[in-house]
Symmetry: C2
Subunit: 892 residues, 2 copies
Amino acid sequence: MERAGAVHVHDFEDGGRDQLDLLGGKGANLAEMTRLGLPVPPGFTVDTEACRDYLAHGDLPPELLAEIDRHLARLEQRMGRGLGDPVDPLLVSVRSGARFSMPGMMETVLDVGLNDHAVLGLARQSGSARFAWDSYRRLLQMFGATVLGIDPHRFAEQLREVKSTRGVAQDLDLTTDDLKVLVGAYSELVEKECGRPFPQEPREQLHLAIRAVFDSWGTDRARVYRRQEHIPDDLGTAVNVQVMVFGNRGSSSGSGVCFTRDAATGDPGVYGDYLPNAQGEDVVAGIRNTVPLTDLGQLDRASYEALLEVMARLEGHYRDLCDIEFTIEDGRLWVLQTRVGKRTPQAAFRIAADLVDEGVIDLDEALSRVTGDQLGRLMFPSFDPFAQRELVTVGVNASPGAAVGRLVFDSETAQDWAGRGEDVVLVREETDPDDLPGLIAARGVLTSRGGRTSHAAVVARGLGRTCVCGADELEVDAAARELRTRHGLRLLEGDLVSLDGSSGEVFAGAVPMVDSPVVRWLEGGPVADDVVAAVATLLRHADTRRRLAVRANADTPSDAARARRFGACGVGLCRTEHMFLGERRHLVEDLVLAEEGAGQRAALDTLFPLQRADFVGILTEMDGLPVTVRLLDPPLHEFLPDLTELSVRVAVAEVQSTPDAHDLRLLAAVRRLHEQNPMLGLRGVRLGIVVPGLFATQARALLHAMADRLETGGDPVIELMVPLVATHEELRLVRAELEQVREEVEAERGLELACPIGTMVEVPRAALTAGRIAASADFFSFGTNDLTQLTWGFSRDDVEAAFFSDYLDQGVFADSPFETLDVEGVGALVRTAVEAGRLVNPRLHVGVCGEHGGDPRSVHFFDDVGLDYVSCSPFRIPVARLEAGRSALHRP
Amino acid sequence: MERAGAVHVHDFEDGGRDQLDLLGGKGANLAEMTRLGLPVPPGFTVDTEACRDYLAHGDLPPELLAEIDRHLARLEQRMGRGLGDPVDPLLVSVRSGARFSMPGMMETVLDVGLNDHAVLGLARQSGSARFAWDSYRRLLQMFGATVLGIDPHRFAEQLREVKSTRGVAQDLDLTTDDLKVLVGAYSELVEKECGRPFPQEPREQLHLAIRAVFDSWGTDRARVYRRQEHIPDDLGTAVNVQVMVFGNRGSSSGSGVCFTRDAATGDPGVYGDYLPNAQGEDVVAGIRNTVPLTDLGQLDRASYEALLEVMARLEGHYRDLCDIEFTIEDGRLWVLQTRVGKRTPQAAFRIAADLVDEGVIDLDEALSRVTGDQLGRLMFPSFDPFAQRELVTVGVNASPGAAVGRLVFDSETAQDWAGRGEDVVLVREETDPDDLPGLIAARGVLTSRGGRTSHAAVVARGLGRTCVCGADELEVDAAARELRTRHGLRLLEGDLVSLDGSSGEVFAGAVPMVDSPVVRWLEGGPVADDVVAAVATLLRHADTRRRLAVRANADTPSDAARARRFGACGVGLCRTEHMFLGERRHLVEDLVLAEEGAGQRAALDTLFPLQRADFVGILTEMDGLPVTVRLLDPPLHEFLPDLTELSVRVAVAEVQSTPDAHDLRLLAAVRRLHEQNPMLGLRGVRLGIVVPGLFATQARALLHAMADRLETGGDPVIELMVPLVATHEELRLVRAELEQVREEVEAERGLELACPIGTMVEVPRAALTAGRIAASADFFSFGTNDLTQLTWGFSRDDVEAAFFSDYLDQGVFADSPFETLDVEGVGALVRTAVEAGRLVNPRLHVGVCGEHGGDPRSVHFFDDVGLDYVSCSPFRIPVARLEAGRSALHRP
């Protein structure tokens, strides 16, 4: 970037909400509210370009500092007060404000401008020495920790010491003199830690605070958060410098957060939290418990009504739920921030549908405001209301859902236990940003302090974790690793607990769960509530908009039936290997142990009628809709006992002189078939070519099943899919065999049996040579699980535990490529294959049947790249339908 | 193809050797010789286009039949005889002739035109009733087997029966009456087997024979041969219809095959085989033993001299060794075929260099006439001349080399035993085309009948298999599975034998081997013979022509030293994992068993001085040349005991109450590190990122080794290579760590240590995103082994035994993609990566270090695609140098 004299500092009067990239979210909205004439304390924004320049070069250029000082001087002139003025000092806040909200991640410094002289002026002007010294104490503490990098616990220790010396419990009980002592102690601490005194020069304070906010963009916790939320790392943050207003100037002051609708349920009507005689930070930190917003009506009717007017004004202007931070200073309302509010999945659907009903937005816009992730979360089960349960306590219902897991008391333990496959519930007195990895690892989080706007609540909602917070009956003893209630109940680390994020209830033990109302509706049940009604409206609208068809991965008649109820228009992947499990496993043993030739043919003949019956079942459920049957894919040894276990059993039996003849024969076969890398071994089409009659038997069973259905008046639609093809020669060979089988069955049954034959594209070479393969294929179905494994060269089973967390931590990838399609690598192969395949065979039908078929972001890629359908597990079908509809909104 | 009236039949007078594609090899050379005025029996060629049309549509169109008949009529007119004429019949041969020679693979029908009437005319005209009836008998036998598909053994049975009835041993002892009886028996056999009599209409015979030749293009044995020889499957064959001349008309007649130089040794001077009173087919089939060509000088001086003149004329014209088939009919020489002759590797080098010395061709042309495959075969060891050995017999030295293996008596056994890893020697009385799979599977072949032009000899030379043929002291009893000599020695199936293809000697047992003279010369020894001198000349010329550099894959100082002697200009791949084997294996155990943190660091500290010493050794040997060191690649559990073995040991010890504490700890670690698919697990760069300090320790050891060498006046040149990179982020992270290590070592040693850092490109995603990776890479080295495994989705270890032979048999691939680079799939990734990488980083240095780096055909691809170097095992370096030179010949 050119470091020349471009304008990088903007007064609130000069911006607007269309400048999100430049001014960040907070700055743009402050500007917007200023232009609307709302009571916003004046100030200016240092923009994100300045931040990116700073991050690239490591310093604030003199031109920028001069520009900041010019804007500050104008602000001082306008307010008639000066930063650091010993008579009537101006105080400013210095807050971050990035393009995308990163709650709790970035730094803030308040009360900038105070020093040893100005504190006296503030005392005089405010008429409260206590307030002035408390503000100075807060500045030293915040600046020391944030800007100077001093361990915040050192300040907390000093505070505790003074309180204990003075014999008081609450900060509010400290006198002016106590606070002066504390200021002295803090100042000494700063000088000792930094080797220089606290900067008395107010402009230096401001410059350092701006720098510290910029620096906070690059902290580890911020990076982790951005990865989790898919926020690019190179945006940078803006900094907002704003005149301080004080909610902590007595009982006619206070701070709060409010929402224009209920962000948890979506219910209409305002709600929020208010904390009298407090700064906004006290509300967010959950240090004291808040009162409901409606109580403000009793405390200060005028301010309450002014706030209601602001709320109505903002929701009308933004045409969406707004989340507003405000402060009342001596009975005067100030709006410090607004943004389109975060919300639970329930609320997202409810609000979007309500706004359509209210005529505020249209259905397309409503659809754009809900996501497949949110719908997926609405499909989670919740606790069975009729199950036995032992209530421990009720806290604040801060993030919905139902979580069952073992209690852990810190982030590290949460990560460790979750890493070995345990479900955990993280319990903390209150959380801070360092707990983020634990919050990510846990199924749910429980805190004893803080309201619905506390750190734990905000982050849990963002992550889709269940959260109960402010459960103040609980005593969290992290050192002793136990949780105690007032009633004497004790829960230890490792004990099972259940959290209901919708009701705020906490139960001991594991409470059984029931399906969500959305799932019950999808299964044919009633529209149980407004949320289900909203889901139904938006899902129907998505169906009218989408170009992509949605099929299901279903291996059994019951899965197929559910998929159909959930809106699938076919089965995109019916895995036949699932038909060899359970009690039929011995059939594969027979096949493997049989001699080549007659023995194998006999084993296949036993399989035939069973497969035929399987297929009749699925074709019956999917009558009239296509069913894509994949021929046997896994290596045969997958159906046999594990080599190590069997070897141990045989060796031990030998030592004990109790050899088992069957085990010995089996061991020989298992050894013969053993593969170093089964994923890269004899499977898929290779098996079909090497084991004579295997694929033919499966095809014969399917074609007879089709004939059976036709003869009984059904409308079976089948497709045969060959797995793991790497070269057109494989498909050509197998296709010839399958077509011969079709001709034989047609002759035998006297019926025409239409049977398109296609292939999985799951080996990189298949994608690279898709043009040649397409000449023998009626359809392609991308097997993006295997394609991802081979393109990256790692197997999901082996690597997710071994190094994915390291890779996510170190930013090697932003998402697991097994969850969201790696567009750059795997996506390039998909795109190449679609284009080359269609060039050769313009009628080629193309879909995807890997797990990515139900992943919201991947669905958009598949739509862009021109697939005909996605196929996913039955429970992902509504998600895929919704996202396919949303994707269509962006199409011309 | 358009089936319209294009010209598809060509008289010999109208063609030439530039029409190989259209007329096939035999037809083009017959035309060429006709134009040179050599004594060629007249005839015409039905071209390859007609064959391709026939193969596509399954019939000969009427237009083509009419065209054939027109040419035949002209031939009859010119010869003054008619096909099937009862007074003076014309006889023609119908022979295949494809673009590339496929000896013994395709069909031939002789004596076409005879029938029950014409045989009488032939008897009168030739003055020999016996000759006429013998010719008719031959037609019935050949036509019956080839055109009508009757089992040839049925004819042999009839022949045996007549001979036994008449009490004679040799065919030649049968009288005219015997032959009439035989013709009657054969005619009955044909009628019985085909349901219709032998076709008496001569034009029908001709049409059917042409059809049969076309059909023989598609037989399984022809397909197998083409795959082996890399001949495309869609060329088709031409058919040559030529007036018959007869070598079997008495003692002044005969047939032979001759070469203008010795095709086995390359020695100048004619050589060949002659069989008096025989047709050419009798020579090739090796039914009777031939006499040396020089004997013809005594038998028929005039014909011998005429032949010498033809040979001189042809070698001069073709400027290369010619292989000529001739027949002498009643003292008159006819030339039936010529072609540039096949030759042994020795002869190829010798002849090419001699022709340069003789001023016939230049060095570029000489280089184009030898191949890396041939050079590779010259580097095979031969039998130690001083070793003890038991001579069994001496046969004809038909294809050079030294083969040791177990005796097998049929093709199936050869394939079976070779399939399970045994070296086998196939022994047969004589071979036929059905033995081809056995010849491919065997190390060598031994026959008791047939000369150097017999089927076994020709095919073995083509395949590079050792062959001793015509060992007529041996009695091959395939039914009893034993081999007997006249001296009473018996060798049974499974016994070890040794064949010396250069001397024709056969030994009992396994004779120890010694290095080839070429290898001794490469190692600094003398130019022992003319072949070594020729190799030296052509290798030097290749070095002056080639653009590609050739490096070595070498892990030890002694490998590096040999590579340097063999002409490597650097080490392209030094694998560091080989430094953790043997007695150092326990160091990895320590690393794995150590606690994270201090314990691991201690284990790495123990590795450091050992690695440093390893690197000093290699840098000393490669002084002045680059050494590319690959950081640790394999998963750590590869250095630990096998899970199954260890589990059995621990379980058995437990049952026997003798538990071993170390084993138990080890088992826990092995279980923890166990991977389902180690190839797709925690290895390569992933290990470097997950195990702190591992790569840094290796880099530190290398940089200190470099500094050590610099301080002692050496000229070390190093490169650090990161394995298994899939995304640019991995390389960026590791590069930052390695550069920090370099700065530290530079500071510590006070030296500048140039150390380019690059990556293997061996994961498909690395190739697909090469542009981004190139931004952090100084070089790419394609790891085509892993790249092939991942692009195809199979692991070499697991699949080669399981299905590669099926795949080769069924034509899924023509070559194993592990031996010759799969240009279509893997090659596409290589090309993409080179282009994208150079676009971003024009100074990017690019090479290959997979085994394909030493494969002749792959070298040409790597040259075409613009790599800077290939790196291969030391023994492949001369091959790569030669092929890189040959590749340069085609460049503008």
